[in-house]
């Protein structure tokens, strides 16, 4: 099985996290959790030492979707909910690129919900990071698929009546071969999660919790920081190849009672690898020549 990153050219000189930041000033609200994700991503990028020109950051739409503009590399801030087809299309035609896909909880679990299972089961070698802030930030505070039941938002004035979904269990049920959880308030740990995702050959999913200080209150940072459990430190031992244990951790939905770290990891051929086998098989049909193709139309 291929190692992820193997086919991606490396930068000649060592780059720092700063080298992966553009000059554009992020227009996130002051204190927004998304800043931490940006910091973690640029840190992780500098650590894999890939050159900016071989990085593609693709997003859907939302506050989270603004990410590509702030990362030095090729970027595509595309349509709401459609980042996964876009990223898959890019990766399988350009396996030499590091493809990083991201988007909000609304982006990936509401409008984009239909693509998530298929990207996961196909297992292309991309990282998909979900900015799960439990709200629609960009459109100013409507409830999202991960908003806790009962919460009042601009579209649930009398409290939400829908049970939330859980991104991490969904990713597991979909067959994602890597599932981790990160908190934007801990940039180092978060960067490590992204780094591990980069290193994982196949579809690597990260549920990131970047508090939306504007619509979810600004207590979240503090409280999460106080209560977070960090997997495989402080005695929180966890074996990411143990499905049952992983499911249990994934199944945590209360952001104030959550474990962060690598939840699930599985070795499984990537889509690109399988594509390689398929092309080999197909090659037996005949040479890659147009004239021989034309022959099949002779009566």
């Amino acid at each position: 099985m291929a190692t992820a990153l193997a086919g991606i050219p490396r930068a000649e000189t060592k780059l720092s996290a700063k080298d992966f930041k553009t000059d554009l000033k992020p227009i996130w609200c002051p204190g927004c959790g998304d800043f931490g994700v940006l910091a973690a991503l640029t840190k992780a990028l500098s650590e894999v030492q890939v050159a900016p020109e071989n990085v593609a950051v693709m997003t859907g739409i939302g506050c989270a979707g603004r990410l590509p503009g702030y990362v030095n590399g090729y970027g595509f801030n595309a349509l709401h909910g459609r980042v996964l087809p876009l990223a898959t299309g890019l990766k399988l035609t350009r396996p030499d690129l590091l493809v990083f896909a991201a988007g909000g909880d609304g982006d990936g679990l509401a409008i984009g919900a239909g693509h998530f299972p298929h990207a996961a089961r196909r297992n292309p070698d991309i990282t998909y990071l979900m900015f799960d802030n439990q709200v629609y930030g960009l459109t100013k505070g409507q409830f999202s698929p991960t908003t806790p039941m009962g919460d009042v938002t601009t579209t649930t004035r009398f409290g939400s009546i829908e049970s939330p979904v859980n991104p991490a269990t969904l990713a597991m049920a979909y067959g994602a071969s890597f599932v981790a959880r990160a908190f934007s308030g801990n940039v180092n740990h978060h960067a490590e999660m992204i780094l591990e995702a980069f290193r994982h050959p196949g579809f690597a999913f990260i549920q990131s919790i970047p508090p939306c200080v504007t619509f979810r209150g600004n207590e979240q940072f503090k409280t999460i920081r106080e209560r977070a459990r960090w997997l495989n430190t402080d005695g929180n031992d966890h074996d990411p190849s143990d499905w049952g244990a992983a499911w249990e951790i994934a199944n945590q939905t209360d952001i104030y009672d959550m474990s962060f770290g690598i939840i699930w990891r599985q070795a499984r051929p990537t889509y690109e690898e399988r594509l390689g086998f398929l092309r080999e098989k197909a090659g037996k049909r005949g040479p890659a020549e147009l004239d021989s193709v034309l022959d099949q139309f002779r009566p």
Partner: protein, 604 residues
Amino acid sequence: MIDVATSTTPAGAVSARRTTDDIVIGIVGSGGDGVISSGELLVSAAAAEGLYATILKSFGPQIRGGESSCRVRISREEALSYGDRLDVLVAFNWADFARFKEELELAPGVVVIYDSKDGTPVDQIPVDPALEPVILQIPFHELANEATGSSLSKNILLLGVLGELFDLPTDGIAEAVERKFRRKSEEVRAANSKALAAGRAYVLRELAEAPVPLSFVHEKGEPKLLMTGNEALAFGALKAGCRLYAGYPITPSSDVMEWLANELPRFGGTMMQTEDEIAAIGMCVGASFGGTKAMTSTAGPGLSLMTEFLGLASIAEIPVVIADIQRVGPSTGIPTKTEQCDFAHVAHAGPGDTPRVVVAPYDVADCFHMAVEAFNIAEEFQTPVIILSDQYLGQRKESVVPFDIHAWPVVDRLTFGGNGAEPYRRYRQGDGDVSPMAIPGQAGGEHTISGLEHVESGDPTSSSAVHARMNARRHAKLERLARERGAELVRTFGAPNPKLGIVCWGSTSAQAREAARRLNRAGHAVGVCVPQLLCPLPVEPIAAFLEGVERALWVELNHQGQFYHYARARLDLDAAHGHLYARSGGMPFSVQEIVDQVLALGEA
């Protein structure tokens, strides 16, 4: 009515044996009857002999075991259309025929052949006696059983009958059968030979005296190719350099993806069946962002779902090709039937002022060419391009004069070399209406694009002034395309200095051209104007054609006259040049229908 019951001597008034170089044969039956296979073998034989041939198939709504029919036309001259009326009808079973009656018009003097097993008495078959049909009952089941031990071979036996009866190239037929089954067992091939021979023998034995008024005359020529429009289109895409096809199955477009599923991988490409049409076009846009030529194909319902990505590709200026194999709409409509009803959608869909290019191939070979052209335009103008084909064009198999695939130029997009002198700007104003694209992997070309309005670098803006400038830039491309390529992408056919003009597009061109051919021979100066480029409208060449004629008729297969209205909004059409003949689809136009309309116009 001329009734020639099996093994009885010819009865009634026998008309003289007529020769022809153009014959239309319809065959109808149920799932197991092998109707389609018979038709395919006939055109295969014809193409191998250098004749022109075309086959149009039709199925009931059942997936298996349902009724099916095909219509084969073989001719010495180019078989432009499917042939309005049947010279020969073969019915394995009259119940099945009833379901296709609407589609199968019979010519006067039609030779009707039916399986004795059906049992319907000759005077009760559903054929209008006024046509003075020649009716032959043949015991296909029995004969096949006798010859091969199985009635399944009756469709091959039929080929023996048809060849002998109408002087079709019998050797060619035998070879076609042999070719088709060359990988089968010796027994199968022997059985086929026996069935063929039995068919021919039956005719010689029982129908030698039959009053069959038709004899097909021809000489052998250079073999033709045989392909469907969908195959030609897919092949064109491969030739143009398409290396990602992503799509979702839908009738009548699935053949495009099924063909590419076979061919792309050995070229290092990929055929991806996605979870839906949104993902399909999304994958294409993602791939094209990475510098790979990509295409999807679909039909109405799927096309609807691609609307949002169409807008994104348009504003972000990303080349992508979408083939729409039209079927009857609106909504699910009639999935297996043809209509030219998606024009209004493909020309306008997408909120905002969304530029896009629409091209329409006019015959099967042109599906290849327009596919290459679509990629070329997409790459050169950095825009989504829609190919408007349809079920009639996409699924009919047609003889194609062999062509040199290498003669067609392939255009690649302008890319950014990246000298590092100045920061890369994706939409740099000084470049005119198209700027070099930096492709991921290119150092110094890093940039971010989006569906947002943007300044030259690609970064978002909310400035009205910039928006106006960028809208102008995006539309300038289209104007340039019409200006630079319009003349070449509007084809004219028929009389050199026509008095009457037909304007039509896409698959309807087949019947319109044949109508003109017929009318020209009858002494009418009729010309046909066929824009291959529909959007942007090539105003000048169409206006020039219109100026040259006294009256013009616009013909298209949809209820509203969709292209006509689009053109009317952009051309100065007076009453004489603005006659519209549009009708709902299902059945394509017949040649006669267009001939009648043109004659009426001439008299108007």
